[in-house]
């Protein structure tokens, strides 16, 4: 049995009348790369913020189970929680300028993580910071360490943020749309870099994205969210080759491809999250809608995947709500 890094069961996140996450489950093991996919409002960001207890104070959180490295995230005292973040689980963001301090040199920021989480001396921290920059593909690290974030290009800034995230030698790296704002050429290099680092270090990787194309080559498993719920989860090969949930199918079909058609258009929009529904949240847009979709489907096992859709129900199953 492999070591569990992150384990979330039946997570609910509410902001006022809005239910951002309703019963999500997510699991990342040591050395495993998991893609968490969803569009705006799917609850993917609320889920990972809750996983690190970084959610805004007005959020109300409940979960049957929410552990990071075996610690109960929701009840952990602040000092222990701070040690867990950065040291056990580090995060990289879409916009490195939100994560990097514009007033401090890149070297100071990476060294800070090293002295705080790894108790290195300032001189050792400096040496280690230079080594980290080299690992993320930044040449001339000695000069680069003395520079400020604005002196880096967008792609280089992402690399510097990755170096800072790796400084705590985390077991789990959470990447929240880390390449969205970048050119495709830079994207491709960063994806390759992160995939390589994950393998070398045996880290767990949680890749949070709206981009089904970009993550195909780097994750082992995919979790698809829609309107705060997990619609489908399964091994990457099965999910792309044989998607089971009509939403997953629609999402894959909507991708324009160089070698194929423009993609099919999924009409409509996500439901109003302030109005709870007792049925399947995707039913209003679903082409395979049936009468029993008025009742929310449970998660059914289908091969190696799990699917929240009545179409995946075993023959004869009439699960009562």
């Amino acid at each position: 049995m492999t070591e569990t890094l992150l384990d979330i069961a039946n997570l609910h996140v509410r902001f006022g009348a809005t239910t951002a996450v309703a019963g999500a489950c997510l699991h990342v093991s040591k050395g495993e790369a998991v893609g968490l996919v969803g569009e705006s409002g799917s609850g993917k960001s609320a889920t990972i913020l809750a996983a690190l207890r970084l959610h805004p104070p007005n959020a109300r959180i409940s979960a049957t189970h929410l552990t990071l490295g075996g610690h109960d995230v929701l009840t952990l005292p602040q000092p222990a929680l701070r040690r867990l973040r950065g040291r056990f689980a580090a995060m990289i963001f879409q916009d490195p300028l939100t994560a990097l301090n514009p007033l401090l040199t890149i070297g100071t920021q990476i060294a800070e993580v090293l002295t705080r989480h790894r108790a290195l001396s300032p001189a050792d921290a400096r040496r280690q910071a230079a080594a980290l920059l080299t690992q993320v593909g930044i040449t001339d690290p000695a000069r680069r360490l003395a520079q400020y974030p604005h002196e880096f290009s967008g792609g280089m800034r992402q690399r510097a943020m990755i170096a800072a995230a790796l400084a705590g030698d985390p077991a789990l790296l959470i990447a929240d749309e880390p390449t969205t704002a970048l050119d495709v050429t830079v994207q491709a290099e960063l994806v390759r870099l992160i995939a390589g680092l994950q393998r070398q270090r045996g880290m767990g990787l949680l890749w949070v994205t709206h981009d089904l194309a970009l993550m195909a080559g780097i994750v082992d498993r995919v979790v698809v969210m829609y309107a705060g719920r997990v619609m489908e989860s399964g091994p990457v090969a099965a999910l792309y080759a044989n998607p089971r949930h009509p939403y997953t199918i629609a999402l894959l079909e909507s991708l324009p491809r160089l070698d194929q058609g423009r993609g099919r258009v999924l009409a409509g929009g996500p439901p109003d999250l302030t109005r709870p529904t007792s049925g399947c949240v995707f039913a209003p847009r679903c082409s395979a809608r049936m009468p029993r979709c008025m009742q929310a489907p449970p998660m059914f096992a289908a091969g190696d995947s799990h699917v929240a859709c009545w179409l995946a129900a075993p023959a004869g199953a009439e699960v009562a709500a």
């Binding site: 994207q187 709206h210 080559g217």
Partner: protein, 314 residues
């Protein structure tokens, strides 16, 4: 056929920095032409220059045959009705303090096509055409989703009846399922109003399916042009090849195979002044590529490229 919009020998310099260098680009009425390239390649600058939102440092910019750079300010303002810009970020491009009704009526009022009062029926009609409830005129941009805001921005761009619309990354901020809906809307409006689109994008798969012609830019220069099906199947410039090789493949096995085998593309670095801008990253660079910039020349029917590989035998 005369071009609707045409840039000839256009250069734009900001201080000492060349944003565009000697660019020739033309669009015919009814066409959809995509401009692709990495950030900083000059694609947005070229789009803005076509509308004279950015005056060229040298060269001419024509619209319906008229030299826009020679027009007095007042005459230029009149022409603006027929050439509009659409931006990536509908959060930034819509005035947060104007209602949707005011936002859509403004272009009509500015160009003297209606008064604030008489604009109302046209605003309602336009909202319906872009798939929004005509009853939303008294609401503000923040009350709408990203996709709805992009619909409002599109309605504002086309309400005064332009011929040319320059759309700068109109899909990048949107979810994939919303992108498809907006592409359908842009196509419907083009058919209904006989619009000509210059579509600035970094998304090659989208460009492949919506553009009749694609122009590839690099370092402020035009390096390749042609029909996307042909350019993407047999790219004539190593830079176009590099862009294509970076397009994510939504297939786990193929994506993994490519990641394992593809050579890394070096990061962009400045090239010597007269060199091809791709020289520092080009796997096929030769001495001549550093000595002089290759001209953009016809290489086949409807296709042009600026690369010495197409001209000088190795």
């Amino acid at each position: 056929m005369a071009a609707l919009s045409e840039a000839s020998g256009v250069s734009v310099r900001y201080g000492g920095v060349a944003a565009l260098t000697d660019v020739d680009f033309a669009v015919s009425a009814g066409e959809t032409v995509a401009i692709i390239g990495e950030s900083g390649c000059g694609k947005s600058t070229l789009g803005r220059t076509l509308l004279l939102l950015q005056p060229p440092t040298s060269g001419t910019v024509r619209f319906r045959g008229e030299d826009l750079t020679a027009l007095p300010a007042r005459a230029l303002r009149q022409r603006r009705r027929f050439m509009q810009m659409m931006f990536q970020d509908p959060y930034a491009s819509l005035n947060a303090r104007m209602t949707i009704g005011e936002t859509l009526a403004e272009p009509l009022v500015v160009h003297g096509l209606a008064t604030w009062r008489t604009a109302r029926p046209r605003v309602a009609q336009m909202l319906a055409r872009v798939g929004l409830d005509p009853g939303v005129t008294s609401r503000y941009p923040h009350e709408f989703s990203g996709g709805q805001r992009q619909r409002i921005a599109i309605a504002r761009a086309v309400i005064a009846g332009p011929d040319l619309v320059v759309a700068d990354e109109p899909l990048s901020a949107l979810d994939i399922t919303v992108q498809g809906q907006i592409l359908d809307l842009l196509a419907a409006l083009q058919a209904a109003q006989n619009l000509t689109y210059v579509f600035i994008s970094h998304d090659l798969p989208v460009v492949r399916h919506i553009a009749g012609r694609v122009a590839v830019m690099l370092g402020g220069r035009m390096v390749e042009q042609g029909p996307p099906a042909e350019v993407f199947a047999t790219p004539a410039h190593p830079y176009t090849q590099a862009l294509l090789a970076a397009v994510p493949i939504p297939d786990p096995a193929l994506a993994r195979a490519r990641m394992a085998t593809a050579a890394a593309l070096p990061a962009a670095t400045p090239a010597p002044p007269n060199a091809c801008p791709f020289v520092p990253r080009c796997p096929a660079a030769r001495p001549i590529c550093t000595e002089s910039m290759p001209p953009l020349r016809d290489i086949a029917a409807h296709r042009r490229a600026a690369c010495w590989l197409n001209e000088v035998p190795a």
